[in-house]
C-alpha cells in the first residue's frame, strides 16, 4: 500500500510538473508569434485535446477517492492488546537448552506476528510489580526489542496485580480494547493459585512451568542466648516439583565445613533444619544444596556473619572480689581488675570502673564511679547521708528501665548535685543517688556501693549494672539476627509500641550507598519491600536485623487458567481481516491515467513516440 501510494504521488508530481507553464529561453520570438496566433484561434473554436481532458478528470477523481482511503467491508481501526510477559524469578528455570523466558518470548512474538498489522500492543513485564515497557504500539520492531530486553527478575509473579493493571490500561488508554495476553509459566504464591476471577478477554500462552526443583527458602542466624560465641542457624528448603527428592544440605563458614544434613522431601513439602556453629570471627556462611535441578539459582545462599566484639572493662578496685560476680554475669564483658595504684588515664579499655577512688586525671573513656570521694567526683557531691531511703528509680530512662526496689534503706550514701542535662537514675528524699551524664565520654556515678550496701540482695543491682553498660556501649549489646531470604515483601515482628521514628530500614550499606527503604508498622509487624537482590538492615532499638535478600522468590504453585480462558496462539487472527483497503487500487488507477495522458498528450510526446518507434524499428530490422 505504501509503495502504491508513493508511486502514485510521484506520478502526480511528475504530471503536474509536465502540465505546468514552462519557461523557455529561445533565440528569437519571430516564428513563435505567428504560430501562437493560430493556436489561440483554434482554442476559441473548440476544446483542445478532449480525450486528454477526460483522462485527466478521471485520473484526478480516482486520486481524490484514494485520498479518502476507502475500504471494503466493516470499519476496523485495529485493537489494543496488552501482553503481560512473566518476568518472575522462576522464568530463569531451564527446560532443556532454553529457559522458560526464551519460550515465553517466542510465544509472545508468535502472538504478535499473528495479529493484524494495525493492531497495537502494550508490553508489560510482570513479577512482583507490573511494569509497562511500551505504550500501545503498532511498530513491531519496537515490540520485538521490548520483548528481547525482558529478563527474569528475582521476585515472584503477582498475577492479580498484573491482570488488574492490564485491565486498567485498556480501560484508560485504548480506543478499541483487544485481548489481555499472559505469556509465562504462571508460578505464583500458594494463595494466588486458585485465582479464578480473570478478565473476560484474557488469553494465556502458558509455557511448561512444572519443572523439578528443590531450593532454599530461607536461612536465619541468631546469636545463641544460652551458649556464648555460638550462632543458631535455621535453614528452610522446599521441593517445588512433582516428584519426591532426596537432597543434601551443606554449610560452610569461610570455606570450612560447618554442618550438613540430608533431606527427603515430598512434592510440595517444605522442611527446616537447625544448626549451631561457634565462632567469634566474622565471615561468610554458605548454604548449598547438592542437587541438580531446573532452577539452580536457589540452590546456594551466602550470608555474612558479623564478628562479636567484647566490651573491655578495666576495674580499679582494692576489693575486686566484690565486683567480679557482677561483671562476669554479662557475657559480652571482658573485665580486667587492677589496684588503684596502677591507674593509667590512657589505658586501653572501653569502660573504666573506679571503685571508691578518684584519680587526679580523669579517664579518657567512659567511666563508672562508685562512691567517689567528694573531692574528686565528676558530679558534685552535695553530702554524705546515713540511713538514706532509696525512694524511686527513673524507669523512663534507659538506665532505670525495668528497675524496681521496695523499702531499701542504705546505711550510707552520697547525695549528688546534678547539673542541667544530667540524668538522675535513682533518687532519695535528699537528692539523687545515681546520676548519669551523657556526652563523650559518658559518666555514671553511684552514690552507694552496689555490693557492700543493702542493695547486695536486690535484683535491681545486676540490672542496674547491665543497664549502665548497655547505655554506655549500646552497639556491643545490640542483638543481631542475620537472615537470607527472598526479595519481595519482608515482614519483621517488632516490640509492642515501637515508635516508627526510632526504626531505620536501610539498603545498600555494604555497597557504600546506604538508602532508606520505606516501611510500615502495623499490629507490631514491620513491613518493607525490596524488589532487587541486596542486603537490608533493620535497626529497631536494641535489635539489628540483617536481611540478605539474595534468594530468588519462587512461587509455590502453578496457576491453572480457568477452562473458559482462551489459550494458545490464534492462527486465523492475521487473516481474519474484516476490511480490505481499496484505496491503493484507486491510487494506481489515477497514476496510470495520468501516466497515459502524459505519454499520449504530454508536451514531449512526439519525441517519446519517435524514440519508441526507433526502438521498435531497430528491433524489427534486427529480427528481419
Amino acid at each position: 500500500m505504501g509503495l502504491a501510494g508513493a508511486i502514485s504521488a510521484g506520478v502526480v508530481a511528475l504530471y503536474l510538473l509536465d502540465r505546468s507553464k514552462r519557461r523557455q529561453v529561445v533565440a528569437t520570438l519571430r516564428f513563435w508569434t505567428a504560430a501562437d496566433s493560430r493556436t489561440e484561434m483554434k482554442h476559441r473554436k473548440r476544446i483542445q485535446q478532449p480525450w486528454s481532458l477526460l483522462l485527466q478528470l478521471l485520473s484526478l477523481l480516482f486520486l481524490i477517492i484514494a485520498l479518502a482511503g476507502p475500504r471494503l467491508g466493516t470499519d476496523d481501526k485495529g485493537r489494543d492488546h496488552v501482553m503481560i510477559l512473566d518476568t518472575s524469578a522462576w522464568m530463569g528455570a531451564r527446560s532443556g537448552r532454553t529457559t522458560l523466558m526464551d519460550e515465553a518470548r517466542s510465544a509472545a512474538r508468535a502472538y504478535i506476528k499473528a495479529l493484524p498489522s494495525r493492531d497495537r500492543v502494550m508490553i508489560v513485564r510482570a513479577d512482583a510489580l507490573a511494569t509497562p515497557v511500551t505504550a500501545f504500539e503498532s511498530d513491531r520492531q519496537i515490540l520485538d526489542e521490548a520483548i528481547a530486553r525482558s529478563q527474569p527478575g528475582a521476585s515472584v509473579l503477582n498475577l492479580p496485580q498484573a491482570l488488574e493493571f492490564a485491565e486498567r490500561a485498556q480501560k484508560l488508554q485504548s480506543q478499541h480494547a483487544g485481548e489481555i495476553v499472559f505469556a509465562g509459566a504462571a508460578r505464583v504464591p500458594e494463595d494466588e493459585a486458585g485465582l479464578a476471577t480473570v478478565p473476560a478477554n484474557l488469553r494465556v500462552l502458558q509455557v511448561n512451568g512444572a519443572l523439578e526443583n528443590v531450593g532454599l527458602r530461607k536461612i536465619g542466624l541468631r546469636r545463641s542466648s544460652t551458649v556464648a560465641d555460638t550462632w543458631d542457624i535455621f535453614v528452610s528448603l522446599r521441593n517445588y516439583g512433582l516428584k519426591p527428592r532426596d537432597v543434601g544440605l551443606e554449610l560452610q563458614f569461610g570455606g570450612a565445613p560447618a554442618g550438613s544434613k540430608a533431606f527427603s522431601l515430598k512434592p510440595g513439602e517444605e522442611q527446616q533444619a537447625t544448626f549451631t556453629y561457634k565462632t567469634r570471627a566474622a565471615g561468610f556462611l554458605e548454604a548449598r544444596l547438592n542437587s541438580r535441578d531446573a532452577f539452580p539459582q536457589d540452590d546456594r545462599a551466602v550470608v555474612e556473619l558479623p564478628s562479636e566484639r567484647p566490651l573491655r572493662v578495666l576495674v580499679y578496685s582494692n576489693e575486686p572480689a566484690l565486683l567480679k560476680p557482677l561483671l562476669s554475669m554479662v557475657g559480652q564483658v571482658n573485665a580486667v581488675f587492677e589496684s588503684p595504684a596502677k591507674y593509667d588515664a590512657t589505658a586501653k579499655a572501653d569502660i573504666v570502673v573506679l571503685d571508691r577512688f578518684a584519680p587526679a586525671v580523669k579517664p579518657a573513656v567512659s567511666s563508672i564511679w562508685i562512691e567517689p570521694p567528694a573531692a574528686g567526683s565528676p558530679i558534685p557531691v552535695k553530702g554524705t547521708r546515713n540511713a538514706v531511703k532509696l525512694e524511686s528509680w527513673r524507669t523512663d530512662t534507659p538506665l532505670g528501665a525495668g528497675l524496681r526496689t521496695k523499702d531499701v534503706l542504705l546505711q550510707s550514701a552520697e547525695i549528688f548535685a546534678p547539673a542541667a542535662g544530667d540524668i538522675a537514675v535513682a533518687e532519695s528524699a535528699e537528692g539523687p543517688l545515681v546520676v548519669a551524664r551523657a556526652g563523650s565520654p559518658k559518666i555514671v556515678v553511684l552514690g552507694f556501693h552496689p555490693v557492700k550496701s543493702s542493695m547486695k540482695y536486690e535484683l535491681a543491682t545486676p540490672l542496674l549494672i547491665a543497664n549502665t553498660l548497655r547505655w554506655i556501649a549500646p552497639d556491643v549489646f545490640r542483638s543481631r539476627e542475620v537472615q537470607a531470604g527472598t526479595v519481595g515483601t519482608v515482614t519483621v515482628p517488632v516490640e509492642k509500641g515501637t515508635d516508627a521514628a526510632t526504626v531505620r530500614v536501610v539498603t545498600g550499606v555494604d555497597q557504600g550507598d546506604a538508602k532508606p527503604l520505606p516501611f510500615t508498622i502495623e499490629d507490631n509487624v514491620l513491613r518493607f519491600f525490596s524488589g532487587a537482590p541486596g542486603t537490608v538492615r533493620v535497626l529497631t532499638g536494641s535489635r539489628e536485623l540483617v536481611y540478605s535478600l539474595t534468594l530468588p522468590d519462587v512461587g509455590e504453585s502453578l496457576w491453572k487458567a480457568p477452562a473458559t480462558v482462551r489459550k494458545g496462539i490464534p492462527r486465523a487472527m492475521g487473516n481474519s481481516v474484516s476490511t480490505i483497503d481499496i484505496w491503493p487500487w484507486f491510487a494506481v488507477l489515477g497514476a496510470a491515467g495520468l501516466l497515459l495522458d502524459w505519454l499520449l498528450f504530454g508536451r514531449s510526446r512526439a519525441y517519446r513516440l519517435r524514440a519508441v518507434g526507433n526502438v521498435v524499428g531497430s528491433i524489427w530490422r534486427k529480427a528481419s
Binding site: K21, R22, V26, A27, R30, T33, E40, Q48
Partner: protein, 293 residues
C-alpha cells in the same frame, strides 16, 4: 579550450580542402583562384596591342617578326584576396541544447585552418550589435594556434544588429573579398538588406546558418513562457502540434529566403543544424555548396 576546438585528426583531413570563391576579385599575385583580371599569371589569357608604357617583357616577339606589329601577351591573374569570417557572438547563439556558439566557433576555426593551409589571409571578425576586435591570421598553418586561442576567448553578448554590422564592415574593410558569415541569422529585424548591402559593395557572401534542433522544431507542448535571449521580451502562449508545424514552416521559409539572398548575389548558402558533426558539415553541405573544394 584552444586544443579542444578541433582535434588533430580533423585538421589533417582539412588540409585537402581549399576555400573557393566565384567572383573575380582584384588582389595581389599568389592566390589559388583564377580571375578575369590579367596580370602576372602562368596561364595565357589573350593578346592585345602594345601601348606605350607596357612591359616589354610581355611582348610577343614571334608575332612581331611575322607581322611587324607589337602584340602583348596577357596572362590570367590568380590574386590573393582577403577572406573574412564574420562570426556571430550575440546572445541568441548561446541557446540550444548544443550551443550554437560553440558549434559556430568550431566551424570558424575549421574554415580558418583551411585558408591558412592555402596561405590565404583570414580575418576573424566577431560581431553582435557591432563589430568586435578582429584577428588576422596569415602565413601558413603554423599561425592557426593563435587563431584558435582568439576564438576560444570569445564570449557571447549583445543583440544582433546586421545593418549596423554591415555599415561598420564596409567602412572598416574597403577591399573587396570573400565574406563567410557564420550566424543563426535570427535577428528580429530583417537581415536581407544588410546582406544585400555587403554584396553590392563587391563582397562575395557565403552564408552559413547554424541552428539548434530546438530552433527549428521546438520539442515543448502546452503553456509556455518564452523569453527572447537577446531582448529579454516575454511571450506567453499555448503550443501544440499544429502550432509546431506552423513554426517549422516559418523557419524553413526564412532559411529559403536567406538562400535566395545568397544566390541572387552570386553567393552561397549553407544551413547546418548543430546535431551534425563538424566534419560531416564541412565535407557535406559546405563542399556541396562549393564554398570549399
Amino acid at each position: 579550450m584552444a586544443q579542444n576546438l578541433i582535434d588533430r585528426e580533423l585538421l589533417e583531413k582539412l588540409e585537402r580542402l581549399t576555400i573557393h570563391w566565384q567572383k573575380s576579385l582584384p588582389g595581389l599575385v599568389g592566390g589559388h583562384n583564377t580571375s578575369r583580371f590579367a596580370g602576372a599569371g602562368q596561364e595565357f589569357l589573350d593578346h592585345r596591342h602594345f601601348h606605350q608604357g607596357d612591359d616589354l617583357r610581355a611582348v610577343n616577339w614571334r608575332a612581331f617578326l611575322r607581322l611587324e606589329k607589337l602584340f602583348l601577351k596577357m596572362f590570367q591573374l590568380e590574386p590573393r584576396i582577403p577572406v573574412r569570417i564574420l562570426l556571430d557572438i550575440s546572445k541568441s547563439m548561446e541557446t540550444g541544447s548544443v550551443k550554437k556558439f560553440d558549434y559556430a566557433r568550431k566551424l570558424a576555426a575549421a574554415m580558418c585552418y583551411v585558408g591558412l593551409v592555402r596561405l590565404d589571409s583570414i580575418c576573424l571578425q566577431p560581431f553582435s550589435s557591432g563589430l568586435g576586435d578582429a584577428f588576422v591570421a596569415s602565413g601558413g598553418r603554423h599561425r592557426f594556434q593563435q587563431a584558435a586561442v582568439f576564438l576560444s576567448g570569445l564570449q557571447c553578448g549583445g543583440a544582433t544588429n546586421f545593418m549596423g554590422v554591415a555599415r561598420d564592415f564596409i567602412s572598416k574593410y574597403p577591399q573587396r573579398g570573400l565574406v563567410i558569415v557564420i550566424s543563426d541569422f535570427l535577428d528580429d529585424a530583417d537581415c536581407e538588406k544588410p546582406l544585400q548591402f555587403l554584396s553590392d559593395f563587391g563582397h562575395e557572401l557565403i552564408l552559413t546558418q547554424v541552428w539548434a534542433e530546438e530552433d527549428r522544431e521546438p520539442p515543448w507542448d502546452g503553456e509556455l513562457d518564452l523569453e527572447d535571449a537577446e531582448t529579454g521580451v516575454h511571450v506567453e502562449l499555448a503550443f501544440d502540434s499544429s502550432a509546431r508545424k506552423q513554426y517549422m514552416a516559418a523557419f524553413d521559409e526564412y532559411a529559403q529566403h536567406l538562400r535566395r539572398v545568397a544566390l541572387r548575389n552570386s553567393g552561397r548558402y549553407v544551413g547546418i543544424p548543430t546535431n551534425v558533426p563538424i566534419e560531416d558539415a564541412l565535407f557535406g553541405p559546405l563542399v556541396r555548396s562549393g564554398a570549399v573544394e
